[in-house]
């Protein structure tokens, strides 16, 4: 009894004093922003066809549908082409900046706005990958996903190292003021639903309050309390991301068990024969001809998907299944021609990656980057020191107790 109380107390202390999984949330952030950025760039030539005001899913058609479900999208505020281009550009820029972790929290909000705006504008062109991005984009807003591997972390570390006053920053307040002005305009114009307005105003005032409290008295009770709240919200959102990922696998697995093709071991054969999912018909045909292989992959898929949530109880089992899962997603990316779906799923999976592995991967990236910088210096004669890298602050020097939002 006493022991369990003590454990409970330690748990409470843990979730109120730290934002857990800094590397995992950073990996999710990088993976997600990278996936969406790649998608936006890939579809850049087709953006009008997919989401534009004069595309097949015309603006007035979307308006009729959205009048019924109140989905959030900036693109319904105007049917102008310029507006569309601006929103698309915003989505691209926000994705890139979130990837690098520049003003991470603000960018995560803009990233979500970009994702929802485009996807909700035309819900009939998405697939499972878009669905994953959609959900994670919302959850990510509530996390402190820039604690490591971000420009924010680097800036905080440098400010600390130089003994600079960390509050002396210009971009942040400017960004905030811009956001506040935009939100005020939106509120006055009455183009957004009250629920979303409440959400955005809460984020905005929370940010200001937190900053002001810390600046006024970083040791003060009010600031410490606000920090506890931020930790709690982060940890809650992190849990949601983890459970959501489990739900994806559990649902995918349990529904498969009920299908006759997954039972007789031929299920994997069929997608390989579908025109929309066979970018490499030669390879697909060859694989589809291997009865035993098809059986093993069919059963293996169901097994791993159903087992995954339970494997979390055992670290080693989890890591094995995670590796299998990621390998399968890579195969899906290529064979079924679903790279964006697979990348999004891998980003979601990353929340379960072991810290040791992430540190190792981060160090590899940092070393690779250092090599590139060295070579660039040799070529160009002088430093490219300011070049940011998303994987950059992986080294030991980055393990400073920085305080991201």
């Amino acid at each position: 009894m006493k022991a369990s109380l003590g454990r409970c107390a330690r748990g409470v202390q843990l979730v109120t004093s730290r934002s857990l999984g800094p590397y995992q949330t950073a990996a999710v952030r990088i993976g997600l922003a990278g996936t969406w950025l790649l998608f936006l760039l890939r579809e850049f030539p087709h953006r009008q066809l997919l989401y534009g005001p004069d595309g097949p899913w015309g603006w007035s058609m979307a308006r009729r549908l959205i009048a019924g479900n109140d989905a959030f999208t900036l693109l319904m505020w105007s049917d102008g082409r310029l507006w569309f281009e601006a929103v698309y550009a915003l989505a691209v820029v926000a994705s890139a900046l979130l990837l690098f972790g520049w003003r991470t929290r603000t960018m995560s909000v803009l990233f979500m706005v970009g994702v929802l705006s485009l996807q909700n504008r035309n819900i009939f062109v998405g697939d499972g990958g878009d669905n994953v991005v959609h959900l994670l984009a919302i959850y990510l807003v509530l996390t402190r996903c820039g604690q490591v591997w971000s420009l924010d972390a680097r800036r905080a570390a440098r400010a600390g190292a130089a003994g600079r006053e960390p509050w002396a920053d210009r971009a942040g307040p400017v960004l905030w003021a811009g956001g506040a002005a935009a939100l005020a305009a939106v509120t006055v114009l009455g183009v957004a639903g009250w629920g979303w307005l409440l959400f955005f105003w809460t984020l905005l005032t929370g940010q200001a309050l937190w900053w002001w409290l810390g600046r006024r008295a970083p040791d003060g009770q009010a600031y410490l309390l606000s920090d506890v709240v931020a930790h709690l919200v982060h940890n809650g959102a992190l849990l949601v991301i983890m459970v959501e990922t489990c739900l994806i696998y559990a649902t995918a697995g349990w529904y498969k068990i009920q299908g006759s093709r997954w039972q007789d071991g031929t299920a994997v054969y069929y997608p390989l024969q579908l025109e929309s999912f066979s970018p490499w018909p030669g390879i697909s045909g060859m694989l589809a001809g291997q009865g035993l292989l098809v059986l093993v992959v069919t059963y293996g898929t169901v097994l791993t998907q159903v087992a995954f949530p339970f494997a979390l109880l055992n670290r080693r089992a989890k890591n094995v299944l995670l590796a299998l899962m990621m390998a399968e997603h890579l195969a899906i990316a290529v064979l079924l021609g679903l790279p964006f779906f697979s990348l999004a799923m891998i980003a979601a999976d990353a929340v379960f990656l072991p810290t040791v592995f992430l540190l190792w991967a981060g160090a590899r990236c940092a070393r690779a980057r250092a090599g590139v910088v060295r070579r660039a210096r040799a070529v160009f004669g002088r430093g490219a020191d300011g070049v940011p890298g998303d994987e950059e602050p992986a080294g030991p020097a980055r393990k400073l107790p920085v305080r991201p939002s």
Binding site: S17, E43, G68, A71, V148, E165, W167, Q221, G289, V356
Partner: protein, 336 residues
């Protein structure tokens, strides 16, 4: 059925969805944070690795020392964050370098609830309860949404839908319960009014086959080739009964949508082949079962099943992206 296409098709549920959740009060990333000062006045930030690593091992956070270990009145424990991935230190592939053994993860380490005054501890406990409740409710709703229809959803399905739609909708029946076992080709033809007043009917153009060819060898297939027509047709089929009667607004919209997708494609395909104006178009789907695998003794009829829609008269406003119904044969002037 075809799962990768299923998600994202929001039902028209005219209810509010965003409940301003209480835990949304997220103090956010602010420029320059009085980080180290707050957390550890005596540990001035030091870029050297050892200091950084050891300064904030769990539980050593300044402020914790003098504080009562637990707030007496603390509320129900938070959700099982025991599954904390950060705590995970299983051996990783490629094993870490010696200097990278993670003693503690970096990031914000605050004094936590233990350093708060009693009044603030109560506030923190309330917030924790709210976050826990929010997380619990959200996950329950999502679970009920993805689970099959059951005792609870039969009674409270509307409440679940109200919460889920439109932003949390999801469908993870990925190729389940059974993968799609037919190739569904959407084909179209047009009647073209020539300048001399004759009506010319084109052959069927297999738009899905063209999509299939377009993604061949493409490592990054475009949604315009993989999803646009395929999911547009799904939308049409799902919002019409088998006799082709639209069900309400979605039926109307889907019809218009398919017509516009097809028209854009037909214009591209037919442009340059003849002179005239597209007058009407007709769409059909041709469903061909995938033959059973070579080792199977199942017999499946390979006969395609067609579903033909009525002819649609089209106008210039039906052509997306400011296109035109006017076709010109190659090499006869005109804006090509």
């Amino acid at each position: 059925m075809d799962a990768y296409g299923g998600a994202g098709d929001a039902e028209a549920d005219p209810e509010e969805e965003t409940r301003g959740r209480d835990e949304d009060r997220t103090p956010s990333r602010r420029p320059g944070i009085g980080a180290q000062r707050a957390a550890s006045p005596e540990h001035l930030p030091d870029p050297s690795p050892p200091a950084g690593r050891t300064a904030h091992t769990l539980g050593s956070a300044p402020g914790l020392a003098g504080a009562a270990p637990v707030p007496a009145g603390s509320r129900p424990a938070p959700p099982p964050v025991a599954a904390d991935p950060a705590a995970d230190s299983a051996p990783a592939p490629g094993s870490a370098e010696p200097d990278l053994v993670p003693v503690v993860s970096p990031g914000a380490v605050g004094p936590g609830i233990g350093a708060l005054r009693v009044g603030n501890q109560v506030v923190a406990a309330v917030v924790m309860a709210l976050v826990a409740a929010g997380v619990g409710v959200h996950l329950l709703m999502v679970f009920l949404h993805v689970a099959p229809a059951n005792t609870v959803t039969k009674q409270h399905g509307q409440a679940v839908d109200d919460y889920i739609y439109p932003e949390f909708e999801q469908n993870w029946k990925l190729f389940a319960p059974n993968p799609l076992q037919q190739n569904i080709a959407v084909q179209a033809r047009a009647e073209i009014l020539a300048e001399d007043g004759t009506l010319d009917r084109t052959r069927w153009v297999d738009l899905s086959a063209l999509d299939g060819e377009a993604i061949d060898g493409d490592p990054l297939p475009s949604h315009t080739r993989q999803n646009l027509l395929r999911r547009g047709w799904d939308f049409y089929v799902n919002s019409h009964d088998t006799a082709g009667v639209p069900n309400g607004m979605r039926g109307d919209l889907s019809e218009r949508y398919v017509r516009r997708i097809v028209l854009a494609r037909l214009v591209t395909e037919l442009e340059g082949t003849r002179d005239g104006v597209i007058d009407r178009i007709q769409v059909r789907s041709r469903t061909t079962p995938v033959p059973p695998p070579p080792w199977s003794d199942e017999k499946v009829s390979r006969k395609p099943v067609d579903r033909e829609l009525t002819w649609w008269s089209v106008t210039d406003s039906d052509v997306p992206l400011d296109g035109s119904l006017q076709l010109r044969r190659d090499g006869e002037g005109g804006a090509r």
